[in-house]
Symmetry: C2
Subunit: 550 residues, 2 copies
Amino acid sequence: MVGRLIQTAPSAYQYPLIFKQLWHTPRVQAPDQEIVYRDLKRQTYRQTRERIGRLASALSKAGVEPGDTVGVLEWDSHRFLEAFFAIPMMAAVLQTVNVRLSPEQIAYTINHAGASTLLVNDEFVGLLEGMKGQLPNVKRMIVMSDRPAPQTGSLSFIGEYENLLAAASPDYHFPDFDENTQATTFYTTGTTGLPKGVYYSHRQLVLHTIAGLALFGMAGSQGRFSRDDVYMPITPMFHVHAWGFPWSATLAGTKQVYPGRYEPAMLVKLIKSEGVTFTHGVPTVLQMLLNAAAAAKVDLKGLKMVIGGSALPKALAKQAMEAGIDIFAGYGMSETGPLAAVSHVSSKDLSGDPDGEVEFRTRAGIAGPLVDLRIVDPDMKDIPHDGKSAGEIVLRAPWLTQGYYNNPEGSEQLWAGGYLHTSDIAVVSPGGYVHITDRIKDVIKTGGEWVSSLQIEDLISQCAGVAEAAVIGVKDDKWGERPLALVVKKPSGADDVSDAVIKEHLKVFADQGVISKYGIPGTILFIDSIPKTSVGKINKKELREQYGDM
Amino acid sequence: MVGRLIQTAPSAYQYPLIFKQLWHTPRVQAPDQEIVYRDLKRQTYRQTRERIGRLASALSKAGVEPGDTVGVLEWDSHRFLEAFFAIPMMAAVLQTVNVRLSPEQIAYTINHAGASTLLVNDEFVGLLEGMKGQLPNVKRMIVMSDRPAPQTGSLSFIGEYENLLAAASPDYHFPDFDENTQATTFYTTGTTGLPKGVYYSHRQLVLHTIAGLALFGMAGSQGRFSRDDVYMPITPMFHVHAWGFPWSATLAGTKQVYPGRYEPAMLVKLIKSEGVTFTHGVPTVLQMLLNAAAAAKVDLKGLKMVIGGSALPKALAKQAMEAGIDIFAGYGMSETGPLAAVSHVSSKDLSGDPDGEVEFRTRAGIAGPLVDLRIVDPDMKDIPHDGKSAGEIVLRAPWLTQGYYNNPEGSEQLWAGGYLHTSDIAVVSPGGYVHITDRIKDVIKTGGEWVSSLQIEDLISQCAGVAEAAVIGVKDDKWGERPLALVVKKPSGADDVSDAVIKEHLKVFADQGVISKYGIPGTILFIDSIPKTSVGKINKKELREQYGDM
């Protein structure tokens, strides 16, 4: 035996890390705090906690048992937040269905997860009608709607959400159970093959919740989250639990605002009218927000925003800083809870000079509490933290998915060598900042060197007149691969940009040694738009299929 | 089975919540951050982590095995911090010996904990010489000293701390093990009977560490702890792990300052020279600090200080606020880790008006994350949170001691009804603020009413010329009990205060209904000093023995 074990048999003392424990503090300290849904609904924490009890009672009455999977097809709302708690708290499994996948993929994920109950926003009735006969495990569906009379089409529902809640008891007895009980599942939006299911236990998500508050609380003067903030997600709740913030915000007792489907004008309106101070999203969302705010002449000064999902381009970050947004990057993925690292800038690195700060704000961040983040070579040997040497990021933390659901082979690969493999290539600075240089499969191998497609994209996007750029490797007999750039011009500055201008721009960096000369794309194609995945990332798989043989 | 259990067999994924995990982030993000010991020593986190490896190697070479108990007799120092990590990280048990207990009690606690190894600051050599033959389990001792040649007296030590570290390898392999392994033990300073041992597992203290950071991080504009702070304890490390802050500060990567033995001039000097911004202590320590700062003409503006252990008197809190200290109370005890509640004042209650704010700053606080804090009647029924009705505080949280060491009867009482009983009587406001009105045994039952001795003490201490006050119940044939006040006058304002002045002062509050008229003490005695326990609390047991029959 190593050490002296403390008795852990069931006893008065036992305190499992399960979701219901997140409610002790807010229910006492913030009973009158608000949860807001668009301009349609306001309710207090007290009412929210009551409705969570009602939802559990209603589901239980409908036949949902502990261990059953309940899928939710919904935009970000107070109802989704209620499901975020009620379903796991009754020891059932919450499946957050990614409604942006193709209908075939959505049906696949519902079937693969074994969901037997669905909560469905009536905007998705048409989608489900198209899946008739393809969801053999689904026993019952409940419809949710913003309309007085929900659209049900040809589907049969056991009831409407509000009616069922009104008829149910708020006093559901949420039991204690093992903290390793599964709480949630959702599917990755990997750009290769079928979506893969990841899954999390109560213990993992409770630890993620408090570690998230610790991480965002102990920040210096920048990027902090406190109970005085007003929180709104702009990463969908169906995607990695909106980064876990709905749970952290609840535990902190903050005001929360849910924007429904992401409509730029509504987002900007809610930021203004509800005083939103903290949000998060992918770079595309930030760009959309900046445009919409400019159009509506709304000031975003004082808004804090974490960017994840894709690298935060420096040009975009500077644009956000100019708009007064406290912008910074984070790092994580579906498999990692997602919290792995956040670019809280050390006070000493907060120069006040936008050009200096942007270097730190756009890095993927510093590892969060309890996160063992290494960069390693293919033999799992550590790469030095010198800001130059690159390796794959591998992780250990208390909240990483144990594997892919019903996929032992994928799970074994994911956890090879006892660490979760991210497939991201990064350098780490002596101060601990992680800088992602590429995805393993997106690295371009040319002339015996590795060229980071992300870095070339970032440099091209800094040229005047460039709206967006993607760089992929294309086969080349002599060099192995050569970079190909796909560039979208800005409508307003199209004349400023050309093949020659971009190459000249990159040559300056190559001459300075910032990039290899092999990094200058041989070919630059101007296209109308760059294809994106369902969560707004550049779809390199599609680009490679289309242009890879050029 | 409740719910769907996730596989928890040992696997690549397993991540036990053990102390070594606290070092992942700071070792990468803050390797050059400083740990300071008085004006004697400065070392970086990198060096500290190395010395932790060396200490474990040295202890292991000396024969310390997993499960063994290692006692430490030391003032707050970098060495104690190293022991805080190295001993638990090697799966041994750290006993923080309370060196302020009587020699008999110290010997009792070392024997009762079964410590076989002691780390001893040479200031305690004389103390240990007096225990010769009374410590039969102790197999080996290591001496620590600030002097070039430690004083060893007639004791035999296996070596000196620095020499042993210098000869040992920094590369100790800290193993993984069950998170329920015991990490620490220490003894309560209960004013009745023998000291009682409490004990904590790795899981409990790791959870306490991150929840502490979450609690102090998500605070609003007041009382926040961040990685930009400079931390110094003024609650001894032998007492409830200095409230766990040494671990939280390490995880946050903050600068840490250890003051050794608490000498007022040194404390003030370190606050000034090292830029200390965050500390904690009992009210007596705050008073000492204010006096010493005034004497040295040192400005304490900007210092944040949590007060616990005893109620924070309003008069003292206002004095601290006038000195520019961000002062606020916390609540916890040896049995509770100690984190239970902290009086982070809601932004809406931060009026800027000292008289208004002091009401909130002096309350025991709002329950921390994951803390299930109830006030209950003797039948465990909940008392409403109306700011008026009083009940006993009972708690559940993931880091409460499972019981008293080798004391099944005491443990059963402690956990009666599935909650830890604090023996503290409190009211809770609708906003969640806990206000301790008394200890169960200190409540004065008079004329059929319960009078809070704490409240009367607080009111008396607000009279000009009063330095300190204690109130106890004395037997009375007619009323059951009657309050007796014991008052120490200020040297400078002794003439302002008298029996009549105090009674008149209290009568105003009785007329307003703030206190019962039975709360006005029949007798007021002026005495030279009020006896304190080893951790600076008013020793009511001694007062009752001396004055209880008056």
